[in-house]
């Protein structure tokens, strides 16, 4: 059997014991196996059929469906078709949820305006979700990643993240939620941060950092987060998060060798110059680096 047929049979789970043995002897066997084993990481979500069906039923309106009369003239048929089409259109507008979802990719930032003219600047690799239609009654949005909020005066709303909810009233503040870290900086007005049972108020000029189960409060003299003007800043942040942000801003892969990724880093890097940024994050720890297109290696030279 030729190689291609062997591979196809393997993919379909149809190899005999002997055929499998010869497949395993192929030099590329390891690479096929790795590809195959890791595909499961991309699995689509498993649907809870009961839950979905219940949801489906609630979306369907109980109504008499128009039956086509058997002795229809063309005009009558067209009238029915028109009613059906209009019914369909209205049906969809009324029942659709009007969720707005904004996602940024690596090395991308974007601005959006909320229905009340509040402005949000979203940093790379982040997601925001809110209900545009219901904004007046339900002023809640979900954030995964980092964003800078300028909330119109007198307007209250909530930003939900995996780690806590930030409630605001006419302020300017930055929320950075990456992995298990949550950082909130308030630049103007008042922000209240709720995490589990704690509720911490942050007036302008105050910051809060929650990482590794600890909450640290601090201050800032900035009027807006540095990344909005092109610089990523870190204060007592583990190195692996600095590297993760570097990867996000420059859309590259970084491998760290021979160095403790938990080491605490305080410093910054510019978002528009990769070499300069690399120097900024390696020099403080006397690390060296290698660049190979979009693969970067950072390491300690023994």
């Amino acid at each position: 059997m030729n190689k291609e047929d062997l591979i196809i049979k393997w993919l379909d789970g149809e190899l005999s014991v002997a055929e499998l043995a010869s497949f395993k002897k192929l030099p590329e066997y390891k690479s096929y196996k790795k590809l195959y084993d890791n595909a499961t990481y991309f699995k689509s979500p498993v649907i809870d059929k009961k839950e979905y069906y219940t949801n489906f039923k609630s979306l369907v309106v109980n109504e008499e469906k128009p039956l086509l009369k058997s002795n229809t003239t063309l005009k009558f048929l067209m009238r029915i078709a028109a009613i059906f089409v209009i019914g369909f259109g209205l049906y969809f507008t009324v029942l659709k949820e009007d969720m707005v979802k904004v996602n940024t990719q690596l090395a991308e930032q974007t601005n959006i305006n909320l229905p009340d003219d509040s402005e949000i600047i979203i940093n790379a690799d982040s997601k925001i979700k809110y209900n545009e239609k219901k904004w007046n009654e339900k002023r809640t949005l979900q954030l995964n990643g980092e964003a800078f909020f300028k909330v119109a005066k007198g307007k209250k709303f909530d930003v939900q993240t995996n780690l806590g909810t930030i409630s605001v009233l006419g302020t300017q503040f930055n929320v950075r939620q990456r992995g298990k870290m949550l950082e909130v900086q308030c630049f103007e007005g008042l922000v209240s941060v709720e995490m589990g049972k704690s509720n911490i108020k942050l007036p302008a000029g105050n910051t809060l950092r929650f990482i590794n189960g600890k909450i640290t409060e601090g201050t800032t003299r900035l009027l807006m987060p540095s990344w909005v003007v092109g610089k990523s800043t870190f204060e007592s942040i583990p190195y692996y998060e600095v590297i993760a942000e570097f990867e996000r801003q420059f859309n590259v892969s970084v491998v760290l060798s021979n160095f403790d990724k938990q080491k605490i880093f305080t410093g910054s890097f510019v978002n528009n110059n990769k070499e300069l940024a690399l120097k900024s994050i390696t020099q403080p720890f006397k690390l060296s680096y290698d660049i190979n297109k979009d693969q970067i290696r950072i390491f300690k030279n023994e």
């Binding site: 379909d12 789970g13 760290l256």
Partner: protein
């Protein structure tokens, strides 16, 4: 006299069995073809709603192709300028694992390359490959689901695998 449809799917028992039969496959198809960001679950629900509204026009043996066609069109309307990004589950990065930091980083890089390579595959190759490997479907099942020949299915899957290997390992 207009001919009445024999199996009218307006009966709730029949409809709910159709729903349970196809909802996961439909969702998987949309997810693998268009990615997670465009709301595949919502489009799948919408397709079923349309089917229900048309229950007196669509027979049960035509239900599957109705659902897949409608859902596909709903997604195409949504696509416009969005890039397809299939998310992989977060690999654990706590040191509580027995894996070394180097392995974890290497794994993360491999998955990122994999993710990009998947997005670069043609839609038809990606869908066929993921249905085969991730959902464990046989080639014959995939051929039936997508309405193509067994030979075409095998070609798509094989080409997907070769393209992925080329892109990820730079062969």
């Amino acid at each position: 006299m207009k001919k009445k449809l024999h199996n009218n799917i307006c009966d709730e028992n029949l409809f709910s069995s159709i729903y349970n039969k196809y909802i996961q496959d439909l969702n998987d198809f949309l997810y693998y073809k268009f990615g997670a960001l465009l709301g595949p679950e919502d489009k799948a629900q919408e397709a079923f709603i349309k089917l229900w509204k048309n229950c007196d026009k669509v027979s049960s043996d035509k239900a599957k192709s109705f659902l897949f066609t409608v859902a596909n069109n709903l997604m195409l309307n949504e696509v416009k300028h969005q890039k397809v990004v299939l998310k992989h589950k977060a690999t654990k990065t706590d040191a509580s694992d027995n894996e070394s930091p180097e392995f974890i980083l290497e794994q993360k890089q491999y998955l990122e390359k994999y993710q990009k390579a998947l997005a670069n595959l043609s839609e038809v190759q990606r869908v066929a490959f993921l249905l085969n490997r991730v959902e464990g479907k046989k080639h014959s099942e995939i051929a039936e689901m997508l309405g193509i020949t067994l030979r075409a299915t095998r070609k798509r899957i094989y080409n997907a695998v070769e393209n992925l290997r080329k892109e990820i390992e730079g062969i």
